[in-house]
Symmetry: C2
Subunit: 247 residues, 2 copies
């Protein structure tokens, strides 16, 4: 467990997620209070951040990298229930015990707050709880969209939807125009995708091959995807046949 990485006590003002995380609405003095209870932790790809059922005495924001939330049945069937990207929030104020496994799928840096002081601060600081409410409502919407995918979409549609989500996120990060073929790196193994989509890894692999055969996408290596026609990908995803706006 390499922990407590190289980054130490970064200034909130220069933080890359300053304007999207729980702290987005905070004033300078509020940031100063947060600085006092925060600390960074780093994880290598593959490491577990928390186990479901463990005591969890912090909440955190993802600063960089990607983490996943998963649930498991006793016989080992697994379902991913959240994909955590930079600025996303981990943990639940008021909860002692972690409800999900949290795993780093890439190298990961998190900005952690000791839970007790954070909860106290929330009571005094509407800027924090307002922002958290907003983020939670967004996550709920995302979860519901995911329920539609899990309950009703075909394997091919599921894959196309996942690719569309990753592509869209990547495009907004890079702020490059809508024009030209999108290109991005898949941050997940085939198995992780399967866990996310409620499929087996074999089916994931087959459907990716099929999309490639039908030239909806093309691959360089196993992880690098390029999408010549994003509208086409969205059609394959099944939801808004139209709606081809990026973001």
């Amino acid at each position: 467990m390499k922990d407590a990485g190289p980054i130490d006590h970064q200034n909130c003002g220069e933080c890359p997620i300053r304007h999207r995380a729980v702290c987005a609405r905070c004033e300078t003095d509020e940031l100063a209070q947060l600085e006092r209870i925060k600390y960074y932790r780093s994880f290598e790809a593959g490491q577990t951040v928390v186990w479901s059922g463990d005591r969890m005495d912090f909440v955190a924001s993802v600063v960089s990298g990607i983490a996943t939330l998963t649930q498991t049945l006793e016989d080992g069937r697994r379902q991913m229930v959240g994909l955590l990207l930079p600025s996303d929030f981990v943990g639940r104020p008021g909860r002692e015990i972690a409800a999900y496994d949290v795993t780093a799928t890439t190298d990961l840096v998190m900005c952690c707050f000791r839970k007790k002081p954070f909860e106290e601060m929330m009571l005094r600081t509407p800027h924090i709880s307002q922002r958290l409410l907003e983020m939670t409502l967004d996550e709920l919407d995302a979860a519901r969209e995911w329920m539609l995918l899990l309950g009703r979409k075909t394997a091919r549609e599921k894959i196309a939807s996942l690719l569309a989500i990753v592509a869209r996120r990547d495009a907004t990060l890079k702020l490059r125009g809508v024009a030209g073929p999108l290109e991005f790196e898949l941050p997940l193994t085939r198995e992780a995708m399967a866990d996310y989509l409620g499929l087996t890894l074999e089916t994931v692999s087959r459907q990716i091959s099929a999309l490639r055969r039908d030239s909806v996408i093309s691959l360089e290596g196993k992880r690098r995807v390029s999408v010549p026609d994003f509208g086409r990908l969205l059609e394959e995803a099944g939801d808004d046949s139209d709606g081809g706006y990026l973001n």
Copy 2:
């Protein structure tokens, strides 16, 4: 559209959902403010409350009855993404346009608040936004549990899980002891169950028959279910083989 039912301007102090809804934490004066912007609406079983995509100028609490949130793909595949019970909250502050279809599955009474004034009041009244945050976090947990069900459970497990949820809710409402066979009424048609579980209605029907054949449950009529051994039902549901505490 029979609307604006018989109930008119009930006193918040005597409201059956007073202590579980968004208003749960409000003081007397805050309730008074809410009373000024609230109004009741009634719907008959089967009526649509809001269509996805429609402008929605109120938010609301379910007072009595049951409503559902559903999403639909253009080709008609439907997935229920929420089951709204008394005290649950409908609508999203800050959102103009409804994201889901809301339908009354039983006769339904809702306590509505005009959206604009409600949003303004939220800014001044931490008691409301705190409670809403808590409720939203609970819903998010429920949605994630549902993702596990949709992605990884078999048809039989899905049915058993749904029955367990309804049974549990019913038991807490009636506050009757854990002893004796549980009995309750299914508030959903086979089709609605199918939409909830990501199955077809035929499969729902077959699996209910199968659970009856295996005497996990017994039926009186098509809707009244009794469960001789709740632990057995939980085993069939697949999650906590143990965990047989009611609530």
